[in-house]
Symmetry: C2
Subunit: 611 residues, 2 copies
């Protein structure tokens, strides 16, 4: 796929995106949280940006919402403007306060990456100074840099040391991690120091290539987690890992993909994997174990115990990752079997661990993890609620890819937004939430979740949609798109079963929130901010999430979308050794509540399945 | 070769020796420094021991020197009694004060081996205690043992952790080195903890199998350093290492021999290499580099700089050593390119670093290293003097093996002692010293080193030997054994050239001693004790060494032989982490004098070639 670079002003963030992607998607990939009040449907005209060419022609909606003068100046709607060439985009509306990458860019002033390079010019050996090569380097580094005292070195690095020193007139650059000299290079190579932060999701892997010398993001890459072919969720993948060679297979397949992403990202900036000296990884505990080749067997069995929760620093060769052999891989710590390094990274990115006010973070991916608290106490839990929002257990469900109905708005007619300007194939999580919220507000679906027959709907606003109430497999259903209009020639329906699945998913999340509040001893209303992390959280309509009770209604209006905060946390852990250390502190202080073992869970859950 | 065990009383040391070895050799192998005033020639009758059977029949000398009553009680001469079966030997004369192994046995009370095993019984995980497996182990160890705080673990060990814990009901033994858990075993295996200390000499490798749980030596093994086939000394071996694949070849060949020795030693006590968890290594700097696969190239070139001098701790797999994979290899530090870990080990074993009185240690192996000083200051230097004493550069020279004339005594006749009760093949270092010392005292050799013709010798005591003065290749020579009496049918001669070689060797050592004194600002007489380390130092007659000026005459009577002190130091570094750390301290405080660069060396050397 061809890519082009987008520079966002005034922030200066650069991202590389596939040709044809919307500016909205580019913003998301850059980690910039821009406001899309209408959900990116080109309805509100609020997501204005100013572009300098290299984009698609204005759409009908843009002509409708923007003046000719504005269009002449390059003002466009981010949700409708596709990137065709390298371009600059001026953000006219201001980036949200919870903007992640801006935060890390601001911190670039305190850039102290997890691996650092130190250049020294050493005195030449002579008969009055017969120090060993290593002692000479050690002394030279200790004299020049206060943070280079009592360094260690491995035998493998010692093997090349003499030749490197003598091949560069004893002017060399040391790669340092902690107290260890991990590599030595001829001459001054301090400006060549790339790193890559990975968010290993159950479904998607995203990698951010970072310049650790400047703190800037150079590009990002992503891929479907190839383990998906062995099972869509952590339970089925764990089952596969218990089979003969299953663990090895799952481990190798993800490593292969990571190496491919590393190669791709490097080549995109005309670098090689050898220029990459540090990797950071955030993922849920099961992905973490499989990635490391550790068996997740006991995470899946009561009492759900992982092998390790601590942060790890590894030589890349230990897990067959191909970067500079002197580099290191930094694996973020986990909290528990079902609250992993990705959640730790969300807390890190959003600084909940230093918050004075009560915040709730919810990261809905394939699993749904949440953390509630202040700097004084953080409690967390996890639900397996995610799959419903990724299309599983929903008759016409699908991921947020081309052909997915991602937003629905009921007015006089029903307006659908379909990803990719193709015929619809199904409905993704954000669309499902809009749909059910709309049908609830129209009175077509009841609080207990029943789809009424047309004759029992009494809201006049529902009238235009009553002919969409059909019967499917002896149960009531709502016809979203009829078979003529779909890509596959089958109708897209919302069935009574789909609603039950959604109720179970949203009930679990809502119950989790309430039990966390109980643990903190607070009322729901005391939560000052709900931080929605993850791609799904970023695309869904927060008001509608409250309408269906996925997020308690009491919190409507307090929701901030922070995009891929797990990825942002992984980046921060790469750019700053203090942030990597802080991730360990977070993993140790966050308490974990095992919902299944909580005495009230079933009651609270059942109650919360109601809309 | 068949072996049997000898238990020395009252010390309790046990050694395994090949059947047929003398008790004297067994004492040496056990590290026990017993007194052999006549040099082990069965002349003085002083080396009395009491045996409980399992030995050879009394020899003629023993019948001559011991009473029938004594013989009936099992009293024997250690120099003449060969071990044929497992036996106990009571040391009647007392072990010398400088006895190395006794020292380490005394310290066994403070036994804190470099790797330790800790047994813990962990609480089982349940829903109220979902700590990760590693956290559980970490916490359990930290609670039970004060020295087990903030432990780390490697990914490779984590991989087996869950299965090990659950296969043993969470009752496990952790192998710990420093702050790292290197391995975890089911149940209580604390008593299974062997280690092996190696002295890697240029010519000989000796390994001592130690029980780290009790501090006892179980057996020792030795082999010729197989690198000998690529060159007899460090210079020729370095040259070979500079050739294509030469370094790799030298490295692998010594590793192969070490692995064979490990296997042999383990099998001798009915153990396997898997029971061995720690190895320690002392060797000169060149052997150290080759053993680690580091190029010694720059040790051989001005200004003689090694790659590394620090102590190293390595995973055995890093250098292909086959012991328990959780074990560690502890490499003693070096002082400089020509004063290595073996010399550090000698200082460690003899505690020169804590001495209030001025001591001189000389370790004559293939090289001759020496250290002079007190706790306040230690200075060292090295000479390439050794080869002459190992047979190189001496026409009839050979190592101290079967057929070597190892001792010579001039009285009315000339009495030779030959190793192994075979026809003589040549003369080894200790024999050479006796021979030249005798001929000097008889006036057959002059102070400047000339062999006189028979008519110019005026000492009447020389008369019986004057017919041995012959001409060899147009120079005078002394006929030690005529061709009829040798194993190979060639005469064994001392030539004028041999004397010149010996003069160069002893002159270098004596010059080194004098320059060290100058550095310390002391007169020779201020040295209170000369510590002779190494096999050669142990076998040579110390008085004769002074007669020829190998050791300055001023020091005659102050010489202590300490046997293989390098090996003893390596053992101590294995038995005590404090001793291993102390070796690093020693390597840092010992100053190194480059003799070749010393302004007075040539003058002092030339002066000291005189007898």
């Amino acid at each position: 796929m061809e890519h082009c670079n987008v520079v966002f002003k005034p922030q200066g963030n650069v991202v590389s995106v596939p040709v044809g992607q919307t500016t909205r998607e580019a913003l998301y990939l850059a980690g910039l949280s821009y406001d899309f009040p209408c959900g990116g449907n080109g309805k509100c005209g609020k997501c204005r940006v100013q572009v300098s060419g290299g984009t698609s022609e204005p759409t009908a909606q843009e002509h409708h919402l923007l003046s000719e003068a504005e269009l002449a100046e390059g003002v466009r709607l981010a949700c409708h403007t596709r990137i065709l060439k390298d371009t600059e985009v001026l953000l006219m509306e201001g980036v949200k306060k919870s903007n992640i990458l801006t935060k890390s860019v601001t911190r670039a002033l305190e850039l102290v990456p997890v691996v650092s390079k130190r250049y020294v010019e050493l005195p030449l050996p002579h008969l009055e100074d017969q120090r060993s090569d290593w002692q000479r380097l050690q002394d030279g580094l200790a004299e020049a840099f206060t943070d280079c005292q009592e360094l260690t070195i491995q035998l493998s690095v010692l093997k090349g040391l003499s030749a490197t020193l003598r091949g560069a007139d004893f002017k060399v650059t040391a790669l340092i991690q902690g107290q260890e000299v991990c590599g030595v290079e001829k001459h001054d190579t301090t400006s060549r120091l790339l790193g890559m932060a990975f968010d290993i999701g159950t479904t998607t892997i995203v990698g951010y290539l970072m310049d650790l010398h400047t703190g800037r993001e150079l590009c990002h890459v992503s891929a479907l987690n190839p383990q998906t072919k062995f099972g869509g969720d952590v339970i089925s993948r764990t089952a596969y890992s218990n089979q003969k060679n299953g663990l090895e297979e799952l481990h190798l397949t993800v490593i292969e993909t990571l190496n491919r992403l590393i190669e791709t990202a490097a080549s995109r900036v005309e670098a090689t994997p050898d220029d990459i000296y540090a990797l950071s990884f955030a993922g849920n505990t099961c992905m973490h174990h499989l990635f490391l080749g550790l068996s997740p067997r006991h995470i899946a069995l009561v009492p759900y115990v992982p092998v390790v929760s601590n942060a790890l620093v590894l030589a890349p060769a230990a897990i067959d990752l191909v970067i500079n052999p002197a580099g290191r891989a930094f694996v973020l710590p986990n909290v528990a079997g079902y609250v992993g390094g990705d959640t730790v990274a969300v807390v890190l990115a959003t600084e909940m661990d230093r918050s004075d006010t009560m915040k709730l973070a919810i990261d809905i991916g394939t699993n749904g993890e949440m953390v509630l608290g202040t700097r004084d106490r953080l409690v967390s839990c996890s639900t397996a609620a995610g799959p419903a929002f990724e299309g599983a257990q929903i008759s016409s469900g699908m991921r947020g890819a081309d052909g997915a109905i991602d937003h629905i708005r009921f007015g006089e007619t029903m307006e659908l937004s379909v990803i990719g300007d193709v015929k619809p194939k199904g409905i993704c999580g954000s669309g499902l939430i809009d749909l059910v919220a709309g049908l609830l507000e129209l009175g077509i679906i009841t609080k207990p979740g029943r789809i009424l027959s047309a004759d029992r709907v009494d809201n006049p606003k529902a009238a235009p949609f009553l002919d969409r109430l059909v019967t499917f497999e002896n149960s009531p259903a709502f016809l979203l798109v009829d078979e003529q209009a779909t890509a596959h020639g089958r109708p897209i329906l919302l069935t009574q079963g789909d609603i039950r699945s959604l109720q179970a998913a949203k009930g679990a999340i809502a119950a989790g929130v309430r039990i966390l509040c109980e643990k903190q001893g607070i009322a729901l209303e005391e939560i000052t901010e709900v931080i929605l992390a993850g791609a799904f959280g970023n695309y869904m309509d927060p008001h509608n999430a409250c309408v269906i009770g996925l997020i308690p209604k009491e919190l409507d209006g307090r929701i901030t979308m922070v995009g891929n905060a797990a990825g942002a946390g992984a980046k921060m852990a790469l750019l700053s050794r203090d942030e990597f250390r802080r991730a360990s502190d977070i993993s140790k202080v966050v308490e974990y509540i095992e919902l299944g073992a909580h005495k009230d869970f079933n009651t609270v859950f059942a109650y919360n399945t109601r809309f």
